[in-house]
Subunit: 210 residues, 3 copies
Amino acid sequence: MDLLAHITFTQLLDYIGTVAFAISGIRLASAKHFDLFGAFIVGLATAIGGGTIRDVMLGNDIFWMKNPIYLILTGMSLIWVIIFNKRLVRQDTTWFIFDTIGLAMFTVIGIEKTLGADGNYPFWAAIIMGSMTGAAGGVIRDVFINEVPLIFRGEIYALACVAGGLLYWLLWYCGYDNVTCGLVCGFVVILTRVLAVKYKINLPVLKGEQ
Amino acid sequence: MDLLAHITFTQLLDYIGTVAFAISGIRLASAKHFDLFGAFIVGLATAIGGGTIRDVMLGNDIFWMKNPIYLILTGMSLIWVIIFNKRLVRQDTTWFIFDTIGLAMFTVIGIEKTLGADGNYPFWAAIIMGSMTGAAGGVIRDVFINEVPLIFRGEIYALACVAGGLLYWLLWYCGYDNVTCGLVCGFVVILTRVLAVKYKINLPVLKGEQ
Amino acid sequence: MDLLAHITFTQLLDYIGTVAFAISGIRLASAKHFDLFGAFIVGLATAIGGGTIRDVMLGNDIFWMKNPIYLILTGMSLIWVIIFNKRLVRQDTTWFIFDTIGLAMFTVIGIEKTLGADGNYPFWAAIIMGSMTGAAGGVIRDVFINEVPLIFRGEIYALACVAGGLLYWLLWYCGYDNVTCGLVCGFVVILTRVLAVKYKINLPVLKGEQ
């Protein structure tokens, strides 16, 4: 408990998101009959993939390479899936909420890391990096399990990050501090995603030739 | 028009290539019933994916992160596909030419960025980077739509970049300036690809076991 | 022969691994009817993909961009596959051994490059980088041929790298020099993989819902 007392609220949300993302990867990998190692790697890639691509593109040190907590959380997620297995379906609502919290948190982290990076990047680039931090892990997961990435055809996901990012930009432009901007951004990401799922709001599908 | 007057000839070719690449991605995404957001992302990845990998490998700042034109052009490409939709087939020859111009331009940009980078890279590495700038976006596109990358089985594409790059090297070795080298390189890329398509020239297919 | 005399034992193992990895990529590409260029690219990506991702993540110059030997070895591998083609099956045991030597060598190289990099990375991160150097090329290969990555479902492969890496860590902790650590690490990788294949030891498969 003493250990937990040193975890900030921001870190707690980051860790919740990591576990939720890892579990989504591990579950999809297990549905494809991956072995334990494969499931662990897919879970890890889902959880840390977006942030890794962000750090590579910003020229940062990779965030998880000096802090083993992300590996440990992925290992714990794997054990969780093994224990609960088919009963995980009952936890679906909980994991949906945690996944959405993670999406919001990762977006805020991605925006702030880009604004704080050396490159002096414009704000729209920070929004893209925030959305990528939130959504790219899921794309890597789907490439690994050899499926068309869900976020390209399904529900509103990365677009919730963009909406949150735009609000961050607006408030930041109006002179608000980064805690306020981050809280509102995260809230908008969660709200957008929850409303989109609840009211089954989808983007139009392009009807192409062939 | 005043705005356009400030666009150099090189930029114009770069932008034409960006639109042609984005449209190829958006069309293939729409054939797979991606939603608008998914189609936009696939179009964007096709247009900027090769240059992004190049910049990451060279340790450069990512080229599109400080200039919103590539995002804007991808957005315009999406609108174009929505408006013309099934009538796009009639524009096939035009888009083939623009795509080939883009391939040539991206190859030249990739070669020159590598030669101008810090690493003091050999010329053959610049040719690989040029070919990757031209062809890797299409590979990412095909991975996203969950197909075997077209350039690995189909017509001569990246090999046209290699041919152009070798000519660049030859002329550069003979002491020509980079404008001449670039023009000849681009011309060879276009010529190789057009001739290969016109006369249906393909590489032999490896007949493997199994 | 004078040329070969300048190749160190370490380089020899590195080159053997490169050829074995390239051949595995080229064979799988040819089974999918890729053309010569596509097969070459898949072979190259299998051979140098893991090390490239490692160098990008460490912020190093990319290892193959200043030394053409990896391209040349991939070209030779392509010629080898063309010449032997269906008779390659008879060489399967040889290529299995060479592939395993490559896996061991790439793991050691990845660990040592991470420990020698600027970032002052912890040892567990070096083990991950070593395993990625050994195994990520095969994942890229499988993504390119549009299959679920073999190492996520099949035999023990990357886990052999992890086992070797842990032994490296233990010996290094006990004060042994890097030559001893590297030799033992490589030996453990080879032993783990050979035993796993010989006795058909696999990891348990997660039985997921759906």
